[in-house]
Symmetry: C2
Subunit: 731 residues, 2 copies
């Protein structure tokens, strides 16, 4: 059980093992060259289609946000120009509250799993954790529209994390040909009815999501590799790259089309994602003097990032208690946070003094600016003056970042403005994340980091010749490194955003230091969120304590096995009684010399077999031919998300209950096994590397019962093992 | 047995399994917090040290090549200016031949394993194949100096592949604290005495090698990920990235230092790696018209790349027959190829007509150029004219590439010049690769591809508005995609070289198409070379035929087992008689109820135990304490490269031969096992994913002997399985 979007839902594991039963062998033998070709083509078409769709969604989401937020800001700006300040404030605060309420309502009533960033859920899914609503169509819908409304509402949140989740949802739904709940499954997608191919497609989708958010194809691939996936193959690298390439090309061409002004408020001014100019590097200073200040920035960024994770953890525990109380509470909380944000963004500029325009900017008419774009907002200031705080706060987040990154404008924002803005954004990021709205963490971290970096650049300008815009960029990097602990992908994403490879060494240095500093205190924010939600993530490396335990130690509960030819009643009762998903099948008396492990049957396969009613009156081995007269191999394939068969769907008469069913045809004849005295660390390595769902533990000494127990994902969780240990030590 | 640099040497497998014997448990229990900290620090220090050293080597190698080649070209140029053409030719041809002979002699006599690119060997090592000389100090020495001489000799070859091999060698030697052959092992490196940590370090080294060659840190990481490694973990991504970052920073700062003219002929003019200007994108044309020509380029590039692989395969078979005849033959072959190359590079410009300088270039005094740098070589041309062929051929390869990539100079090279140059370079690349000199394939492919692309750009200039320099870049991408089948890493390397991310979509498109086209014909060139050398590379996916076989089918030969307390004579005889490296230990009569698998012992551990002479007169279980009074756990650690203990090193008396030795303390108590009826495909997945060296096959039915056989890497090779099949079908 795990908390997904403040709702508790049952967790299942995905299974990447080849289930070598007769159905599989039959299916495999029946595949000719044409089927293999069909499968290959399908794999590529789906991957490219995912790229195309994500490109379109990314574009749509951008355009919607820019138009809604742009309209909101324009109207307010006009009211301000008419000096109708109260009306402007009212418009600002109510407009934000309505948008926030809409986003929260969508999220609370339609798709609770869509709240938050979504990256922890995607990461868990790609690790083999399947919570039903993670990738459902309703989640996709809420993720797209909730994120549009949320970002437009002026929250300090991004649409980048949600885009990753959106990408994963789109990929998952495409892989199933829609959702089986709505009857949308196509027969020609039958080759994709397994966890492995779906996982690959979802990996492509997550990568494309990053590309859709940042227009960064290489960064998308690296994100998928570094943060999202738990298994990786070279073939996947190449397919993921193609997907992100398609997404990037679609997005770029659409943006190009919009530049000519066809998309409403989009693409006219600064509302495109930050194209940071490369002039920020055009400073010539002595590296010996610059290095200490950059290192200082990185260390402080790492500390503040780790602090953010700590505070977020505490705050989310409070929030989850509020969110648990139901949908109305969620909406109220969201609106309350929205009111605070609106007051900050409208109020803080009033407290800030006006700054005279720099003469060279005034000369070319770029200061002060009236309207939406431009760095120097004239907010209630006399002519020739601008309000720095308004330039940052009464803007979309993207524009604020662009203003902070802009080079060659060292004195634009005063120290006090930057301090206030940093403090406000840092706290708003914290209080915003837990509300029931799809909310990414990239933009808040970039925003806080950039203001912090720029502030430090201002303070250290006597010591270093580096541009304050560059400092802002490095500050953003240090915050991303400090909270998310991503390195290569953040580096590449920042490079692709700034289009300046000469910055690479500095960005790398900052990321290395900030991650290292933050790692001393706590874990990355996504790992922390995953753990808080209770998603059973299998780490690549086991806990040290696993080395001193053996596999037999953690096997628990009475083992439930079936005979190879079993009474139907026993099977049905067992399925009703337990929630287990895999059962060892023991070949005993009439069918073999001594009890031996015949294989492992899955609950889903048992249900299909029972539904087909391939029963016999006496315990005889009917063989595969009998079963495959009634069932095709594809009937055993895993259905898409949504419910598969349940044991209550079966309609079995009392008479049939007394009959027998031959489990040989559906038993996975060679499940992966470990000997009971293998150390848990080695067993975990096997379990993790092969992506198993069930692993049989066999006894060391022959002649006893052939299986000692079954290990599942749950048995490798550090919490479970620690609990077990306490019990052992406390008899 | 495999061919490494035309020498046949025995192959061993690396072992990434945790050998869970008493020695390991003792060692693990004895590690406190300080030891763990020591290990962590060491891991990072070594990784960063690798980066630093590779940076320095990369710089040294660049500076040496530029100075030697620069001196050679300058002298020739001066002789030409004095119209002493015969002398110039004689100087050119003899200088090249001497350098070539020196490189070949180094390679033939000191380090035969250093011939060729080295990437296939590194790839095989990282897959778990250990041929002793692959990463030896002699190989490192020859790789560095052989490659410097070879590239200076004007061969069409690069120093990029050799840099990767150099990086791997440096990492491997550092990880062992030098070579045990020369007695250079330090005790504080004892935690690195295992294959897993060495593999990680070698991965870092290979990535740093790419960075050292191309100054491309992200490209280096992606190269390691895409082409080099077979196993990958997220923790490694982060460490590899730090290594390449250090290498890039070192290299950049040294090059910066050289720009002021402190490094001889280095860094004055064009002799730094190509800094392609971004102006090549500054063309505005309709994408609808450009796309077909780019697609055409990519398809042709893919075809020519596949053809290159095919021809190279044929040619190398001929060459290997010559190289087998001994070192003198190798040298003669190398000098012969050098003579052909020199004649081409000196002769072809004579056959090319002079071209009048473009007026705008002549006006600013940049045409013709006399001396080393510049695009427009005046080679026996009247004033105001230049010789296009000389600009390409009488230059270092790096300069030629830069000339081809240069934008805004559409008409610089005539169609006939480009045709002749392309044909010459393509054939010279083919005939050069097989000679006994460290030779990379990157530069030849970039050179051929760039000339081909530029040629196509000239021919299609009516159809497309893209710059011919951009076409040259895309041509290089298409050739790299067509031969090496790398995608993401080539893309990033080209981006980091050109520093222009706007090119990304086009480069990606070209790479995707060219790889796809070439994949229809044959495999990538490195896979092909690995196969030709007989390196037993384990593919990520097994052959389809493996699905219809079971593990028991491929078990062959009589199984050799030991009792858990065995006669010393039996052990020594067995070790003498067989070359096996792992033996199952069977617990039988006095020590257990029925014969059962006690574990697996490794040859290396047996030898250490025998040398320590922990023998008893009677067959009793002495236990671990007895053994660890004579031996420390680290005595069992794997020594560095070079010979470990051999069975002939043992000095065991006849009397001792009749005594008994207890194998319990050194037996890996829980080796990974598979049941004999598991499909070979599943067994292969287990073997590959966990990086095993030995895998025990246990019988399905209990009560018989506890082990049926042992599977090793060899048993999963498609060639072996196919051979076995023929035998089965042909009784």
């Amino acid at each position: 059980m795990a908390v997904v979007g403040a709702n508790v839902c049952p967790i299942e594991s995905l299974d990447y093992e080849i289930v070598e039963n007769d159905a599989y062998k039959q299916d495999w033998r029946s595949r000719g060259r044409i089927q293999v070709f069909h499968y290959q083509i399908l794999k590529w078409v789906l991957a490219l289609l995912v790229g195309l769709i994500i490109g379109l969604i990314g574009f749509f989401s951008n355009i919607a946000v820019e138009n809604i937020a742009g309209f909101k800001l324009l109207l307010m700006s006009n009211l301000m120009l008419q000096s109708r300040y109260n009306l402007a404030f009212l418009w600002h605060i109510s407009c934000n509250a309505v948008l926030a309420a809409a986003a929260a309502a969508l999220c609370a009533y339609i798709g609770p799993a869509a709240a938050g960033s979504g990256i922890p859920e995607v990461k868990a899914y790609l690790n083999g954790v399947d919570a039903p609503s993670i990738l459902a169509p309703s989640t996709l819908f809420v993720k797209i529209f909730g994120s549009i409304f949320g970002v437009s509402a002026g929250f300090v949140m991004g649409k980048e994390g949600p885009m990753v989740h959106t990408g994963a949802c789109v990929a998952s739904l495409l892989g199933q040909g829609g959702s089986s709940k709505y009857g949308l499954t196509w027969n020609w997608l039958r080759y994709f009815k397994n966890d492995l191919d779906r996982r690959d497609l979802v990996t492509c989708g997550a990568a494309a999501g990053v590309t859709g958010a940042f227009r960064s194809p290489v960064g998308g691939v690296l994100f998928a590799l570094e943060e999202a996936t738990s298994w990786w193959r070279n073939a996947l690298l190449w397919r993921t790259f193609s997907t992100t390439a398609v997404a990037a090309i679609v997005l770029r061409s659409l943006i190009e089309y919009c530049r000519s002004g066809n998309c409403g408020l989009f693409g006219k001014g600064g509302l495109i994602m930050f194209d940071v100019s490369s002039q920020v590097t055009s400073s010539s200073s002595s590296p010996a003097m610059d290095l200490p200040s950059v290192v200082l920035l990185a260390i402080l960024g790492g500390l503040l990032g780790a602090l953010f994770n700590l505070l977020l953890d505490r705050l989310l525990r409070v929030y989850s208690r509020i969110n648990e109380k139901g949908a109305p509470c969620k909406i109220v909380l969201t609106v309350a946070v929205s009111l605070v944000t609106s007051c900050c963004s409208f109020g803080l500029p009033w407290l800030t003094a006006c700054t005279p325009c720099p003469p060279e900017m005034a000369a070319i008419g770029r200061c002060p600016t009236i309207g939406r774009s431009g760095n120097f907002k004239n907010f209630r200031c006399p002519p020739g003056h601008y309000n720095g705080m308004a330039s940052l706060f009464l803007n979309t987040n993207d524009d604020a970042i662009r203003n902070l990154f802009s080079g060659g404008t060292g004195g634009e924002f005063g120290v006090s403005t930057l301090v206030a803005f940093f403090a406000a954004v840092y706290s708003l990021s914290l209080v915003t994340y837990g509300v029931a709205v799809p909310a990414g963490l990239f933009i808040p971290m970039i925003l806080s980091g950039a203001s912090f970096g720029r502030l430090l650049g201002r303070l250290l300008c006597a010591l270093t010749g580096l541009d304050t815009g560059l400092f802002a960029l490095l500050g953003a990097a240090s915050f991303l490194g400090g909270t998310m602990r991503m390195t290569v992908s953040v580096c590449v994403i920042l490079l692709e955003l700034t289009n300046d490879l000469l910055l690479l060494p500095l960005i790398m240095l900052v990321l290395l230091i900030s991650k290292m500093v933050a790692d001393c205190f706590n874990r990355g924010v996504y790992d922390q969120l995953m753990r808080m939600k209770g998603l059973p993530y299998l780490e690549a490396h086991g806990e040290p304590c696993m080395r001193s335990l053996v596999a037999g130690d953690v096997v628990s509960g009475p083992l439930i096995t079936f005979s190879s030819v079993e009474r139907v009643g026993v099977v049905v009762d067992t399925l009703r009684r337990t929630g287990h998903n895999g059962f060892p099948v023991i070949e005993d008396d009439p069918f073999g010399p001594a009890p031996e492990l015949c294989g492992l049957v899955l609950r889903s396969h048992l249900l299909v077999l029972l539904q087909a009613k391939a029963f016999t009156a006496h315990p005889v081995k009917t063989g595969a031919a009998e079963v495959f007269r009634k069932l095709a191999p594809f009937d055993f394939a895993k259905p898409g998300s949504g419910k598969g068969l349940a044991v209550d769907d079966l309609d079995i008469t009392e008479e049939e209950m007394a009959m027998y069913v031959d489990l040989h045809p559906i038993a996975n004849r060679s499940p992966y096994t470990v000997v009971e005295n293998m150390s848990l660390a080695k067993a975990a390595a096997l379990f993790r590397e092969l992506g198993l769902r069930h692993m049989c533990v066999v006894p060391r000494t022959p002649g006893m019962q052939p299986v000692v127990g079954i290990l599942t994902r749950h048995d490798f969780m550090p919490e479970y093992i620690r609990g077990l240990f306490l019990n052992i030590m406390d008899p």
